[in-house]
């Protein structure tokens, strides 16, 4: 059952300290910026964040990091975030780096009822250290586990009142897969439309995966 909220602040009002939060987007593209901003304003602390990137210092997750709200971040690429590096160096932030494809396959697994996957990625590198390695034919693979969250913050282009979502271009990225991997998925959209307005052939995220929907108040449309 979906709930539609008037503001991002209301949509995230009950997120408690210590939550694990997935955050869609790639770089600054397709980031749920209104939800992240609201979480920054609310000041929720001790967060574990799963996101491909950490935003930049003045946009996206950068704000949460600067506020000291995040205790751990898992993702694949943090080079654009000075603050991320600084907090990691000072010991104030735990950083776990994952190959991007392994990260997203683990997120998919969490949403798809898959309890373990054997992947060839990263064998013989530091990301395989301490992990179970198994030979399939001539290919060594690492056993990887599902990656789930309490909340997923995702961003779509349009959503109907059942929570069906469509995306725009490469702003799709991690949003659809993360929507399936959290206990409570909160989607912000640029536009809310009536049920039946979205072509059933085109819906990327069916409303079954969305628990809360909100129209974002503003979008900066920044390019990193």
């Amino acid at each position: 059952m979906i709930e539609i909220f008037a503001t991002a602040e209301e949509a995230i009002a009950d997120v408690p300290d210590g939550s694990t939060i997935m955050c869609g987007g790639f770089g600054l593209c397709g980031v749920p910026e209104n939800l992240v901003r609201a979480l920054g304003a609310k000041g929720t602390r001790n967060l574990t964040v799963i996101s491909n990137n950490a935003g930049v210092d003045t946009f996206g997750l950068g704000g949460l990091l600067a506020n000291g709200q995040v205790k751990k971040i898992l993702g694949s690429y943090f080079r654009s975030s000075e603050i991320c590096a600084r907090l990691q160096a000072s010991g104030a932030l735990e950083v776990e780096l994952l190959p991007q494809g392994t990260m997203v396959e683990r997120i998919r697994a969490a949403g798809a009822g898959v309890f373990g996957v054997y992947l060839p990625t990263g064998v013989g590198t530091c990301v395989a250290e301490g992990k179970e390695v198994r030979l399939f034919g001539a290919t060594e693979c690492v056993l990887e586990y599902p990656l789930a969250a309490d909340y997923a913050f995702i961003r779509a282009y349009q959503g109907d009142r059942l929570g069906n979502l469509v995306y725009r271009k490469t702003a799709r990225n991690f949003n659809p897969v993360m929507a399936k991997a959290a206990r409570i998925t909160i989607a912000e959209v640029e536009e809310i439309v009536e049920v039946g307005e979205l072509d059933p052939e085109v819906i990327v995220t069916p409303g079954i995966f969305v628990k809360r929907l909100v129209k974002g108040a503003r979008y900066e449309r920044r390019i990193e």
């Binding site: 790639f26 593209c29 994952l98 190959p99 997203v104 590198t125 282009y157 271009k169 490469t170 659809p176």
Partner: protein
Amino acid sequence: MSGESSKTRIARRAAREVRDGYYVNLGIGIPTMIPAVLPEGMTVLFHSENGILGMGPPPSPGEEDADLVDAGKRAITAVPGASYLCSDDSFALVRGGHLDLAILGAFQVSERGDLANWSLPGRLTGIGGAMDLVAGTRRIVVTMEHTTRDGQPKILRECTYPLTGRRVVNLIITELATIEITERGLLLKEIAPGVSVDEVQRATEAPLTVDRWLTLME
């Protein structure tokens, strides 16, 4: 050789690895110069792992769309026939071996084809899609300058930087040479005009075997 930069020459040689009908992923740096130097009339679709098949050239200034970027987070365009992919589908495509070719930059390559291209000591870290690309793609071509800025070899017996993948590189293209990675080590296939085999070997830590059909790089 005219006044063409060595990076442009590397890109031009690497473009010859791309065939009509290919689906190709390009890493950042020199590989991004390849689309501009491809022969006319070829149908090649470029994949960018953030979620597009059929990436086109950068947009005109003022035409950038914040919802359309490549894996380097630069504004791009989409060609006719392009499609968009969720991240899980994009990496299933990569890891599943569906790309014909990936052309990547490198910090170091070993004589067995080990690749180090994601982590330098003392820099902020990011793996991105590099490990997935080398784990899944049928053919990996590395384009890079032959040595570091201070003249140290980058083609080594063993990589000293953190690995991206083991035994994954098929071909190395530099401003000095084209080198194939074979079961028996490095095979010098082509050499740049005005460069001697001895010079290439001196710039390369690992031993080179000279191919019996050694040719000049175009």
